[in-house]
Amino acid sequence: MSNLLVLPIAIPLATMAVLVLFWKSLRVQKTLGVIGTFVMLAAAITLLITVRRDGILVLNVGSWPAPFGITLVADLLSCIMVLLASVMAVAVSIYSLTGIDDARVDFGFYPLLHLLLMGVCGAFLTGDIFNLYVWFEVMLIASFVLLSLGGEQGQLEGAIKYVTLNLISSAVFLAAIGVLYAATGTLNMADLAVKLRNFHDADIVNVLAMLFLIAFGTKAAVFPLFFWLPASYHTPPVAVSAIFAGLLTKVGVYALIRVFTLLFVSDTEFTHSLLLIIAGLTMVTGVLGAMAQNEIRRILSFHIVSQIGYMLMGLAVFTPLALAGSVFYIIHHIVVKTNLFLIGGIVEQRFGTGKLKEIGGLLLSAPLLAALFFVSAMSLAGIPPLSGFFAKLTLITAALQAEQYAIVVTALAVSLLTLFSMTKIWSEAFWKAAPLNGSTDQPKPQALTRKANSLLFAPAMVLVTITVGIGIMAGPVMDLSIAAAEQLLNPDLYIHAVLGEKRS
């Protein structure tokens, strides 16, 4: 049964290989690209059900025993992340049927998308720190090409910043792996957890923790390492921004959660207090940046930064409830953020621009779009009964229980500011009257056929349904998050699953 574990990696790989065979046929690429994501979704659901029933799944690739060979591990957090990645893949691949121009599809948009998904799922499922680096690189190389595909000036400039910062963080990550190997003599994460538990020199462990914090923090866009994100995320086509916004920074957050619950737990006094400070600053700087912007996708990009702070907050408080809050927040955030980008994309399709000054009157001309945006924006700001409310409520309750009052105040204030900047998009794009003499130098929006329009709207509607569904079904989702958090806070489960009963 544990061969199931390979599927979320193998399916995108197979899809990509088949897609490359049909390089010249756009129609086949589009059809197979979408079908591939559905197959992946089915595999992810099966995986989650299996892990929920049987506990942590482990696969030693090539039957090499655990600390020596390559290990794939799926605990609940990994499965949840893989499932979310597949749902976003389905949504974005359907959106891109009409949201991505044919020239980009012709240059391999769908194969690259699946390569990206393979990297993302690999990073979630690996149990070996060097393989984490390799999957990160697979994902990054795909994302580099997706970001610059099309070669517009803004895209290229954004890509230079994005590529540079990600290469630096990869170099730091690699150096950290080298030092970690020199200190412990192993790269298997479960084995590392055992060896670091009673490591003789606490200072070296802290230095390693900081190196990993810098490496993953840059990828997750935490304060003060986030500036590449707002510079690049609004430049590519919307479908690309949406999948980036939903998944890429979350891989960094996943890696942070993994190493700071499994490996670096000996000196939480130091590491997790630092994480808490970073979380607070990330929230504040992100939301202040968002308030200063005047373009839909730029506002949303800064919001990603701000919300990474909430996910870190749960990790930093480090109680079962707080970690459950983090997991819940990630579930909520990936769905809502991808959706907001998709909705922003529909607005851009309609007006040919995302600048708030040049658009308006959408409430009357597109009431459905307005409703979709309203629900997602309120969910992001944390208004009950939507998913964001429960995520924030859990985090804040946990922080209150842990008596971390400063972060509670910050989180609440940042929520208010989030609401403010969402209102800004709402009042400018939807509420105010459309500008009379629509600027003539802007590219005119193309009229869309009914079929194309419904393909753009369908993913957004499904994702809004999921957001509302998470709000209504908060109980079961919370149970799942708590179960994931308990697994994370009990590293022995992970170690036993990987190394067997004899060790640890």
Partner: protein, 115 residues
């Protein structure tokens, strides 16, 4: 030998970061290359330097007789070199394309995305 390698690693990091702080995109790329080499050499040094001892078990023995070089850091470096080679090749194409589009190699003029 370790000391010498450590100094080299430090020097590579310093040079790499210095190059990346220049305004030219080409120097940025050279800096990135140096940085990834520094990381590779760091792994090599951290893995322990052993002279002339291949990690091979002699015929008829169950384990190596003397201290041998650890092959794993070298495997890691090999993987990392391949990856950084690919990424640097991509970055080179990217900056060339940017140069064609923007007509400058000055990082301070790449501001279209910040406005």
């Amino acid at each position: 030998m370790d000391i010498l390698l450590a100094i080299t690693v430090g020097g590579l990091y310093a040079t790499g970061i210095y190059m990346m702080l220049r305004r030219s995109v080409v120097k940025l790329l050279i800096g990135l290359g140096l940085l990834s080499h520094a990381a590779n050499l760091l792994i090599f040094t951290a893995g322990g330097v052993v002279r002339g001892r291949p990690p091979v078990v002699p015929k008829g023995e169950l384990h190596p007789l003397k201290i041998v070089a650890d092959p794993l850091p070298q495997a890691l470096i090999l993987t990392a070199i391949v990856i950084s080679f690919a990424v640097l090749a991509f970055a080179l194409v990217l900056i060339y394309r940017t140069y064609q589009t923007v007509d400058t190699d000055d990082l301070h003029e790449l501001k279209a995305t910040d406005r």
